[in-house]
Symmetry: C2
Subunit: 475 residues, 2 copies
């Protein structure tokens, strides 16, 4: 029988017991219709083409392909051959000549593309309301934001339509939507997944990210997509022995920010965060994250704003009326920044990366709130920029500091809004984060997305270091 | 007996046969006086302090220190405790609290500091005439430039005063002076030697470089200085197995630019270059270096000009009259660059690094002229900017492309002016370059600096690949 939750193990068991990719595809198409969100898809693969692809796969057989028959959706700033790429800006639309390398690798692994989904225009935003196509509906808490910029990618997974999805993440766009949709969001290390064929936000910081119902599912998808691409100038090789699938954690050293550096929307959010730290199963050191909060402030006020503008300067200077008003304001702010100030930002970024390297000499993972809380749609309407900035409190610095991150659900407030935590580690520490994340997800007392169903038990139960951990100094 | 040429092996033999560091130091002091160039030193370690240091070393004994008793000089944009750092701008002077890590490592290895030497102000220039303290005298061809910006560092070695010296290299300042002084210049990989305590030119591109009479001497000095420094934001670890000392080269694949991409001052310079390629001992592929020449043009016309300005903005905006007129003009050009254009440059740099990675998948070293020729002092006086730019033809792109380089002498024109070649390889390929460079230096038919004396035979005679090599395409 088809599983309610499209986790990778559940679908693999279904196929192993005689189920067909065609039935999975048909069910995904049925769920799209049942979900009925006109703001979700910006371009669909025609139903007959989806079924034809599944039939071809069924005829071929699995042939060892790790994503065999899995339906997925792609954020509409990533090229998929045969569908337009628009970045949620109709006047920007182009027909890509080929799949982005990441998508090509997923298709080669047997995955079934359903279509391209909505986003905050040009991936600029963390809330999901900055699209001319409307705001995708949050399947978990309909009066709340879907998160952004990867809004459709997250809601499609939480609603049970896609087994996984691709987002992008420059400042948190692959993590905030995971929290507010009660799913997993994996932001890989810079350069690990090729970004060729992605509409640039900040080219030097952009990552393709993964949404899934469970940690191990996201890790499996990452392993399929990871690896250098010769034509990609931002691609870089992973160190030998790199893996994404969960590593055991016999004696991991964990840390959290100083208490006075934490902000939350409500005491209930704070309580869920502290409960997550307690569930980590051992002592958690408190570390000063002030240098990282400082570099984050430069992301929307310094050189990197102009990096967005530079990549889209034709739109900004020649067709500003084609832009979402909030996005236009942000991009126009980049036009007259001075290069001498940009170098101050880049030098500060080098220093922040140094401090991050030092931090992670002493700890294995930093446990952060993913965001201070899940805002309502009304909150964003009232304060479209300030409320958005607040969502990035704990996410903005991660890419600048060359770190990897994994967002996992961490429970629900009494009013039903989801809360989440993000595990941050050094570049290429995805396996470590996945090991800890799978355990914390399984112990969070949550269901999968909006679907319910038990979170899979982690396959390698981790153990944590006994004894006290010191307060670590950064600087 | 004290050797005429202060090579490392000669001085080591002298000490092993009973000679004292005190006699070496006294001889270095005598040579400073005999050379009598008032434009060489900007600050001396007092003679009695030099001798006291040598006496202390003699009392301690060698204790395995690889630079035991070796006299050296340091470019005056690198901090040495007890001496002012001025970058050849008297109004910029400060008293550093401590040695830069690179200098500290040399002192810990037993080297004896003689003083701080002249440079093109703020390391901006490749010719050596841009200093308010005058132009250091070229010991090989007195009517020619000493090269820059590391002018004094190169002439002190060529004149036989220092066994080695430190320069810096952002765009060729560690290579051009080597050529025009008939010595060796080693430009290490970015981040291999800490740049903490260096007056920034372009922080993201700056390297501390080494001048020496022979390739293996430079490699030995590099091994002493190399390695991460926790406090240095631009430091990075070398890969396991990294070495600087010459590696054997059983089957190395060599390349040179397309013939039509080569420019020389005279046919004699061209002939010396072609002769060097012939001495390489095997086929040399011709490769298209157009992408690298293109990124080099951005170095003095784009984002990186503003990086220099950003690092010195206090001088440029508040005390412009304290700057050398040519330097002032260059630095002021950085003030009004726009960040959106800088990102185009940075993106182009990422692409150039990608193309460099691809190039060095197919070849082991690129053999370039170090410069089109050695200009006379009168040439620079006539065209202070254009003649300087021409000197950087083959050096400007190397740091932007994250490459290592080694400049070695390649003979003399009939009019007595020196010519040189530069071996370029990927980051951390110093040992490979040193292996090839030692061989090409030994076969060049030149003496050491202005001293004469035979170039040491390479300790590991290299062999080259037989057979034809294809023309490699980049792009």
């Amino acid at each position: 029988m088809l599983p309610a939750a499209f986790t990778l193990p559940a679908l693999a068991r279904y196929i192993a017991s005689g189920g067909s990719p065609v039935a999975i595809a048909a069910e995904a198409l049925r769920r799209i219709k049942a979900w009925g969100d006109p703001a979700l898809f910006l371009a669909r693969v025609p139903a007959e083409a989806v079924l034809a692809r599944a039939e071809a796969l069924a005829a071929e057989g699995k042939r060892g392909r790790p994503l065999f028959g899995l339906p997925f959706v792609v954020k509409d700033n990533i090229d998929c051959a045969g569908l337009p790429t628009t970045a949620a800006c109709p006047d920007y639309a182009y027909q890509p000549a080929s799949d982005s390398p990441a998508v090509a690798r997923l298709l080669a692994a047997g995955a079934v593309l359903l279509g391209k989904v909505n986003l905050d225009q040009f991936a600029t935003g963390l809330n999901g309301t900055r699209s001319p196509h409307g705001t995708p509906r949050n399947p978990v808490v309909p009066d709340c934001i879907p998160g952004g910029s990867s809004s459709g990618s997250a809601t499609a997974v939480a609603a049970g339509i896609a087994a996984f999805s691709l987002g992008t993440d420059t400042a948190g766009s692959g993590r905030v939507p995971a929290m507010v949709n009660n799913i997993v969001g994996l932001k890989p290390s810079l350069g690990l997944v090729p970004t060729l064929g992605v509409v640039p936000a900040c080219r030097s910081l952009d990552c393709i990210s993964i949404f899934a119902l469970a940690v191990e599912d996201a890790a499996t998808v990452l392993e399929v997509m990871a690896g250098p691409e010769r034509e990609d100038r931002y691609s870089r090789p992973a160190p030998a022995g790199w893996r994404a699938v969960p590593a055991p954690q016999p004696h991991w050293r964990l840390a959290a920010p100083l208490v006075e550096q934490l902000v939350f929307d409500t005491p209930a959010d704070a309580a869920l965060y502290e409960a997550a730290l307690a569930r980590a199963g051992g002592p958690v050191a408190r570390v000063d994250i002030a240098p990282f909060l400082a570099i984050a402030r430069r992301l929307y006020d310094g050189a990197w704003v102009a990096e967005r503008t530079a990549a889209l300067r034709g739109m900004v200077t020649e067709r500003p009326g084609s832009l979402h008003p909030v996005t236009r304001g942000i991009l126009e702010a980049g036009l007259d920044k001075r290069t001498i100030d940009a170098w101050d930002d880049l030098d500060a970024a080098a220093e922040a990366r140094r401090l991050a390297r030092r931090l992670f000499e002493g700890i294995d993972a930093l446990i952060l709130p993913t965001a201070p809380g899940t805002p309502a749609l009304a909150d964003l309407a009232a304060e479209p920029v300030a409320a958005n900035s607040r969502l990035g409190t704990y996410t903005n610095f991660v890419n600048i500091c060359d770190l990897a991150a994994l967002a996992v659900p961490a429970g629900f407030r009494p009013d039903g809004r989801p809360f989440g935590i993000t595990l941050v580690g050094p570049a290429f520490a995805e396996a470590r984060l996945a090991g800890l994340g799978a355990r914390l997800h399984a112990s969070a007392g949550v269901g999968l997305g909006a679907l319910g169903g038990a979170v899979p038990a982690p396959s390698a139960p981790p153990a944590l270091a006994p004894g006290e951990l010191p307060l670590l100094a950064i600087g």
